[in-house]
Amino acid sequence: MNANNWGQLITPQLSDLNGAHHLSEEAPVIEAIHLHKEFPLRGTGLLGKSLSVHAVEDTSLALRPGQGTALVGESGSGKTTVARVLSGMYAPTSGSIRFKGQTVNIRRWTEVKAYRRQVQLIFQDPFSSLNPVHTVSYHLSRPLRVHGHAHNAREERQQIISLLERVNLTPAAQFIDKYPHQLSGGQRQRVAIARALAVQPSVILADEPVSMLDVSIRLDVLNLLLRLKDEERLGFLFITHDLASARYFAEETVVMYAGQMMEGGPSEEVIQHPLHPYTRLLLSAAPDPDRIGTDLGAKRAETPDAQLATPPTRGEPPSLIHPPQGCRFHLRCPHAMPVCSQRFPERTDAGGGHWTHCFLYGDNNQISKEDE
């Protein structure tokens, strides 16, 4: 008897069940178009060239109602920066953000403010995302007041209670006057989610929402987010380093490395038939109990339909202050070609919404004459 048979539930609403991997065709709510973000380093630039951290390069995303998009990458991949630019916390160095098809003019404060209302951020660390000196009630009342959702104290309290119930913190009256240090990690994260919901956004950006929680409560919180996505038709950007939870939660998965987008498409497609060497590396490195019995020190088990073998690749993500030229993965890639260090490959469509940026699959890999 297999352990994973315990607790199975199959819910008809869960999308992409055993077959159709199509993504929603609805118009996107939030779009990032060719976002580019650099952070200038202070202290440089007075004598000599000013340095900056090239955090995000030419990233485009579309978030649709009721659909989850997972942004997968390791540290330094730029995924958190993308989230913060999308939430309006940072202005992009170049590129634009569209809300319901209209470009948001970041120079006009009213437009930015209206945009920020539609996008809310949930942070990774439940211990630092709540202010330790304020109660749960305070945390939830602020968005209601700032955005005018409640007109008097009674309405406010009612809305706070209903928010707590939406995130399964019941009985609500028990939690209203608690301070963050009196709550467990999972409860704090739920309060953070409730706070985001209080603004009544169209899209929620969740930055590794469960990676700092205990394993046994991660699923609870993930399932809560799933319910919010499916029942309330919220759009989600789900940032994670764990491909398995990306598959569980999101219909679409995008893989980033060192600020560049490497591959993307329907989650099932990307995970079962990964194209980009980096995606394959991630998959081979992910903990997979089905591999049990294989000594870690020995040759890695191949994925079922690996066309390209992925040997163990040493190395870590590069510095973003002096990033490698061209495709930033080329230094670690077992299939690197000369053109990979010259320029970043164009997008290749593999069908069914699955795309990648890799010279192995397309984009005439001749070195262009200008680069010689």
Binding site: N2, A3, W6, T11, V215, L219, H241, A244, Y248
Partner: protein, 375 residues
């Protein structure tokens, strides 16, 4: 106890004294570690796994007190050669000699364990100098370079400072320091939790390589059970300060017995197989200041029955047949005197029973029709 036993922990208990009362962080824990084996300790917050590790190495500070137990260390390979020594009873000078040369520890966050104002060479040679005062400076440096080579750090980083190294390299440096005196036991407390998944995989395979090369034993502490399933020979699962299950990794994977283990295994979304809604374990790990009576897990357990809130379950031996050692489970389902029907009947009849309010209306399927799920 066989000639292969290296470390034997007997009934170890650690309490924290606080003004509000006594907290039993580790409660009557018994374990054995064989030579050259990897013992995995899995648990979440409040399970006591880190406290256990620090107790073994006597790194606990007041208000933590070891209230009971022995930690027996068998140095010689022949069991009848010498009696074991109790680490908890060692004198301070013996303890100093014992530490690091026999037992080393790799801490969770390398950045906190490395001295930020000393370079790698100094930190490694310091350790060597402390235990081998007669070794010359040249020999020490040679040893340091050898250690760096073993863990995969380029020799030109010998004089680097911790902040100049990446996270993965820092962790490797810590492992190099742990290996400096060729210890018999290395305790690793969440050594790769803060690292990216690719680096983590690299470091874990290096650790196993080193183990194969040098034959030391490892106690690997982590909250990530899926990692242990690939890494450890034997896994002990802790909950609220007690061991609730201990078995080989095959047994844990193929036939998890304790409901908590089964819940944990069901808490990891899978990369392959059909996508379906999973349920994990409702509730959260208990606050050690107010542990539920009887079996600490019973409020979250879908199979709890009337004996569970009353009696603390003892570890029962379950024969697994073949040549593998018995599995140990602390669960009343396996106690024939309390549950005459046997565990399997209970576990099979109710494959899930979660009172998860957030779930939409469920379509329950019996276990058999989904037997093909993960294969």
């Amino acid at each position: 106890m066989t000639s292969q036993t290296l470390l034997e922990i007997k009934s170890l208990s650690v309490d924290y004294e606080a003004a509000s009362g006594t907290v039993h962080a580790v409660n009557d824990v018994s374990l054995t570690l064989e030579r050259g084996h990897v013992l995995g300790l899995a648990g979440e917050s409040g399970s006591g796994k880190s406290t256990l590790a620090y107790a073994i190495t006597r790194l606990l500070n007041p208000p933590a007190i070891i209230t009971n137990g022995e930690v027996l260390y068998y140095r010689r390979k022949n069991a009848d050669d010498t009696a074991p020594i109790d680490i908890l009873e060692l004198s301070r000078s013996d303890l100093r000699a014992f530490r690091w040369s026999e037992l080393a520890i790799v801490f969770q966050s390398a950045m906190n364990a490395l001295n930020p104002v000393m370079n790698l060479e100094v930190q490694i040679t310091d350790v060597i100098k402390a235990h081998n005062p007669n070794m010359g400076a040249g020999a020490r440096k040679e040893r340091a370079l050898e250690l760096l080579r073993l863990v995969g750090i380029a020799p030109d980083r010998l004089r680097s400072f911790p902040h100049e190294l990446s996270g993965g390299m820092r962790q490797r440096a810590i492992i190099a320091i742990a290996l400096a005196l060729s210890p018999e036991i290395i305790i690793m407390d969440e050594p790769t939790t803060a690292l990216d998944v690719v680096v983590q995989r690299d470091i874990l395979s290096e650790i196993l390589d080193l183990r194969n090369q040098f034959g030391f034993s490892i106690i690997f502490i982590t909250h990530d059970l899926s990692l242990l399933l690939e890494l450890a020979d034997k896994i002990a699962i802790m909950y609220a300060g007690r061991i609730v299950e201990m078995a080989t990794r095959e047994e844990i994977y193929r036939q998890p017995r304790h409901p908590y283990t089964r819940g944990l295994l069901n808490s990891f979304p899978t990369l392959r197989g059909p996508r379906r809604r999973m349920t994990g374990i409702p509730g959260s790990p208990p606050d050690l200041r107010s542990v539920p009576p009887g079996c600490a897990f019973h409020p979250r357990c879908p199979y709890a029955f009337d004996a569970c809130p009353k009696i603390v379950p003892a570890l029962l031996h379950i024969p697994t047949g073949k040549a593998t050692p018995d599995a140990l489970v602390a669960c009343h389902l396996y106690d024939p005197s309390l549950n005459p029907d046997g565990a399997e009947s209970v576990l099979d009849s109710r494959p899930d029973d979660h009172r998860e309010a957030s779930q939409p209306p469920q379509v329950e399927l019996s276990a058999s029709s989904d037997a093909g799920g993960e294969q």
